[in-house]
């Protein structure tokens, strides 16, 4: 695929394989939930699996893999940048947590 041309869209056989892969990831998520991990480790594991699922769905189900690369580079870094900016609020939220007044 060149920088300016979109590639051919995959057939239903590949879509079925991707669907099966996504189902396996969902099963892995449920298994991880009952693996008796700490909350932080559970969150990290579940988020990682969710991001992999979302990436696969974006690339194969939404055909982003087969569009011109310019579409990917216009949309996805913008979204990630926006979400990272939102993440800057995290430290402040945790600081506010420590400012809570105790129960009377």
């Amino acid at each position: 695929m060149t920088a300016t041309q979109a590639g051919p869209v995959p057939g239903m056989r590949l879509n079925l394989v991707v669907w099966l892969g996504l189902m396996l990831l969902v099963v892995a998520e449920v298994a991880l939930t009952y693996a008796h991990l700490s909350t932080a480790a559970q969150l990290a594991g579940l988020l990682s699996l969710a991001i992999i699922e979302a990436a696969v769905a974006l690339l194969y189900f939404m055909h982003l893999k087969y569009e011109r690369p310019l579409l990917f580079w216009t949309l996805i870094p913008t979204l990630v940048f926006t979400l990272v900016l939102m993440d800057h609020f995290w430290p402040d939220a945790l600081r506010l947590l420590h400012l809570r007044l105790g129960a009377p």
Binding site: W19, E29, T33, A57, R68, L79, W90
Partner: protein, 209 residues
């Protein structure tokens, strides 16, 4: 200025309007909507994250049966509906109109099944005393507020998607909507599925006991 300088030659208009992304403007509009909507869901999921991690006594009320199993079945239904949506777009692209309409109808029905299971779960929770401002399990009342608002926003998207799929099926059958319309509707439906990939682990699995 000569007349010849003011007149565009054959095909000039189409060349001038060609998108650098190589896609129709309606599909580009859907992509822009999806990115904006992803930022919306991202912000409310971050907000939920503040509450979840900032509250040591956050409840974990969901048992494997029925809640987690029910949510897993809902995930299976939504993922399967993405597959049937792809089949609809594939058939529309190949000019198999009646087959595309059938797959669109199956996708819409799977969406209805998802919404039905979701509403049944909601009403069960209402019956147990859960609401936007009440938490029968103890701990922060914001559990109900965040759970019902995030799943409610997602359910609203599913409902809008089912309406869009129905309109698309009827329009495609009559020849009013073409294959690009079907594919663009599919983009929206896959996005609804993609959002659920975050809602399921963060709101259900992280709250399983």
């Amino acid at each position: 200025m000569h007349d010849s300088e003011m007149t565009l030659g054959p095909g000039a208009l189409s060349r001038a309007e060609e998108s650098p992304y190589g896609i129709k403007s309606r599909k580009m509009a859907m992509w822009l909507f999806i990115i904006a909507d992803a930022a919306t869901f991202g912000s409310i999921l971050f907000g939920y994250g503040y509450l979840r991690l900032g509250s040591p006594d956050w409840p974990r009320p969901f048992a494997f049966f029925p809640t987690i199993l029910n949510a897993a079945v809902m995930t299976f239904i939504l993922l399967s509906s993405s597959l049937t949506m792809l089949a609809a777009a594939d058939a529309a692209q190949a000019g198999r109109r009646s087959q595309a309409v059938r797959w669109l109808a199956v996708t819409a029905l799977l969406g209805v099944a998802f919404a039905g299971l979701h509403l049944r779960e909601w009403f069960t929770m209402f019956g147990e005393g859960w609401s936007l401002s009440h938490n029968p399990a103890g701990g922060p009342v914001l559990f109900g507020a965040s759970f019902f608002s995030i799943t409610g926003l997602h359910l609203l998207h599913v409902t809008a998607g089912v309406v869009a799929l129905t309109v698309m099926a009827l329009g495609h059958q009559r020849g009013r909507f073409d294959a690009v319309h079907v594919e663009t509707t599919g983009l929206y439906w896959h996005f609804v599925d993609l959002v659920w990939m975050f809602v399921f682990p963060l709101l259900y699995l992280m709250n399983a006991h």
